[in-house]
Amino acid sequence: MSDALVRMEGIVKVFPGVRALDYCKFELKAGEVHALVGENGAGKSTLMKCLAGIYHPNEGRMFLRGEEVTIPNPRAAQDLGISIIHQELNLMPHLTVAQNIFIGRERADKTRIFLDEKWAENETRRLLKLLHLNIDPRTKAENLTVAKQQMVEITKAISFNSDVLIMDEPTASLTETEIEDLFVIIRKLREEGVGIIYISHRLEELKEISDRITVMRDGNYIDTLPTATTDIGTIINLMVGRTIYQDAPHVPENGDQPVVLEVKDLNRGKEIIDVNFHLKRGEILGFAGLMGAGRTEVARAIFGAESVDSGDIYIHGEKVDINHPKDAVKHGIGYLSEDRKRYGVVLGMDVENNTVMACFTNFLQKLGFVDDKATRRTALEYVKKLDIRTPSIAQKVKFLSGGNQQKVVVGKWLTADSEIMIFDEPTRGIDVGAKSEIYNLLNELAEQGKSIIMISSELPEILRMSHRIIVMCEGRITGELTAEEANQVKIMTYATMRNNNPKEMVDANAAAVLQP
């Protein structure tokens, strides 16, 4: 085919002990958005890193506009017009936006010694304007929101005048409106003839933005399909290689259960304002809202990880003082952080020690020795119960997949006898197959009488899992919906319902300026 911008054929990439890519092929046309999907570990990122010069394939050929190319390093890829936006943000937080965008391509001024900052700033300003972004080139990257940092990455990629733009999960940390902004930019680039490779787990998104979809599984190329005539179910089936039901039935209503947790008049500055709610036994309470709505703040406040200005917490009707996570653990509250790798598990420690970490004192013998047999028994029990896929309990957690790491965290809080479990974005960065396992696990926990607060930015997830949904916006609870009455439109309406009390309107506006 002569019209292919990029063609990759028979790509093999072997890592020690793993065949990450097994004779994969891929093709990108100019002016198309080509989605690349597959479960975690399917080889999408590896394939793209071969194209971007970060990895070198062991076998296979790559063609750019019909000509065979070898790409020895990231620089060579950039010179060929191939840019990649990585899954993890790759900015230097202490450098300014302009410095970040032109890192590695700085220009000297007339003296040939000093850097030409003016040039970089003006170029950056021009690029940002092109993308209709309101960012000062002289702002340090660390002072930008995650979304804006993402936009800076995109600006950087565009600054290479690339013909090929690879986006690895660009929307993972963006809100709905920011995703819309991103799509506007993508469509504009597509019109200009740029070929865009788009990796994402959010399949609804792909329906909206992509022209073709290539599915990968276990390092193999599976199929390439036109988006318009393919439904999501088909894609999922190709991805997992088996039929799974994306829409599990709702857990039956549990109206008569006793209230386990009650939060009254919780306040902290502008982040948490007059938050009141209760949680029943065996209930999954969804917390919906846009990023920065204050959901995580509420969760961390209840867990004692952050202080509050005022507010009372009642557990089983009794008022409790929670000033520190250890108080929360004592009262049977477990918190599963959205940032699993930073706050949930100790990556360098094994499954066994992670499992018993929250309640080590229960495993102490006389003189303070740890009862190894008991910890081993407990760890094995939960590995089995939660179906954690690990070669042994001595495996370090960092070698497990995201879904299995999440299960280890669940096991940790079950070991600690938690009655109330707060899941903050439980499926972030977890692939479709593992997602439904996490959903089943949540349902099972609820059936066993555990009470669950689930914070999620994915509306389908909230709608599918929750008995009841609380929606937050700018630190306030703006709405509460039962499972029957809830739908995406209602939730989004509440999630964008700003405070309209005129006296405090000014504050709300100021907050909007600070977190655009």
């Binding site: 990231p74 230097m92 450098l95 890192i103 590695g104 000297a108 010694i113 850097l115």
Partner: protein, 330 residues
């Protein structure tokens, strides 16, 4: 417009401006306190003494600033300094080379040991703490071996002393006898500042410390620039070596260990983050002065040397604690 104004004001209070202001304010306060406490403190001769005492540690600290901004550490600056001093003495006294050539040789010796540090860290992937700890011992040993475990004097080349203790300024403006060593410190500080803020070298120093992987993926040759940073640190140590040799009119091979800690303390007091990515030369210079003003002032007030150390330690901890508090507020 109102919003923009607010925004920049907010930036100011959370920015480097405040942290620089804080260490500078601390220096001024210490200065005032000592001036009130002792009439011998605020005298021209004593101020000159303080400046002269800052020269060596200040220059060492300038070099370490680059290393610390990359997120690394250099424990070998003190003994690299001694090594350079010994090599300078060998070239001038033992081999009879001219003073400029001897100094150049000393600077090269320092740069070379720094370069080796850089290679160990960027190519052999040895953690900076370990690599430079090894270099600390190695250069200490080499200084003793090469000198024959005895000081080498510059008695036949009296002009060499002038490099540190003479005063070019005093010749131009009579009575204003600022020693050359101090002028060299200021000159080196200006060079270091320009290097750090205006050139590619400085930009990559920050970039590597801020996010090394991102710099690498942006096509920056991280290994080469890192090696260069350690070599530059070695060069500054070499300069300090020349100055200390000139001040003492001799290369003292047993000297040097412990200087690295003073240098790191100066950098830290100056607000450079040990986790990399931020820092400034102005801060380091202020930090170096804080240490020498403290030492000098406490000595004038007859506080025993042991207690001077305790105070210095407290100041280092306080400086970092203030910085931690500032960050938490953001």
């Amino acid at each position: 417009m109102e919003k923009i104004k607010n925004f920049s004001l907010r930036n100011f209070f959370t920015s480097d401006a405040l942290r620089k202001l804080m260490s500078f304010a601390a220096l001024i306060i210490i200065f005032i306190v000592f001036s009130i406490a002792s009439e011998n403190f605020f005298k021209f001769s004593n101020i000159i003494g303080i400046l002269l005492a800052t020269a060596v540690n200040g220059i060492l600290a300038l070099g370490v600033t680059f290393v610390i901004i990359t997120g690394g550490i250099d424990l070998s600056v003190g003994t690299m300094m001694t090594f350079s001093a010994v090599m300078t003495a060998v070239f001038i006294t033992n081999w009879g080379l001219s003073i400029p050539i001897g100094i150049l040789g000393g600077l090269l010796a320092g740069s070379f040991t720094g370069f080796v540090n850089g290679l160990m860290i960027s190519k052999m992937k040895i953690p900076p703490f370990i690599a430079t700890l090894g270099m600390l011992y190695a250069t200490k040993g080499l200084s003793l071996i090469i000198s024959g475990v005895a000081p080498i004097y510059f008695n036949e080349t009296p002009a060499f002393r002038q490099i540190a203790t003479g005063s070019v300024v005093g010749q131009i403006i009579p009575g204003f006898d600022i020693p050359n060593a101090v002028m060299i410190l200021l000159f080196m500080a200006v060079i270091a500042h320009i290097l750090l803020t205006k050139t590619l070298f400085g930009r990559y120093t920050f970039a590597i410390g801020s996010n090394e992987e991102a710099a690498r993926l942006s096509g920056v040759n991280v290994a080469a620039w890192k090696t260069a940073v350690y070599a530059v640190c070695g060069l500054f140590s070499g300069m300090a070596g020349v100055i200390i040799a000139a001040r003492l009119n001799s290369a003292q091979p047993a000297l040097g260990a412990g200087y690295e800690l003073d240098a790191i303390a100066a950098v830290v007091i100056g607000g450079t983050s040990l986790s990399g990515g931020e820092g400034s030369i102005l801060g380091t210079v202020i930090g170096a002065f804080v240490i020498s003003v403290l030492t000098n002032g406490l000595r004038i007030m007859s506080v025993p040397q042991e207690w001077q150390m305790v105070v210095t330690g407290a100041i280092v901890i306080l400086a970092v604690f203030a910085d931690v508090m500032r960050r938490q507020r953001n």
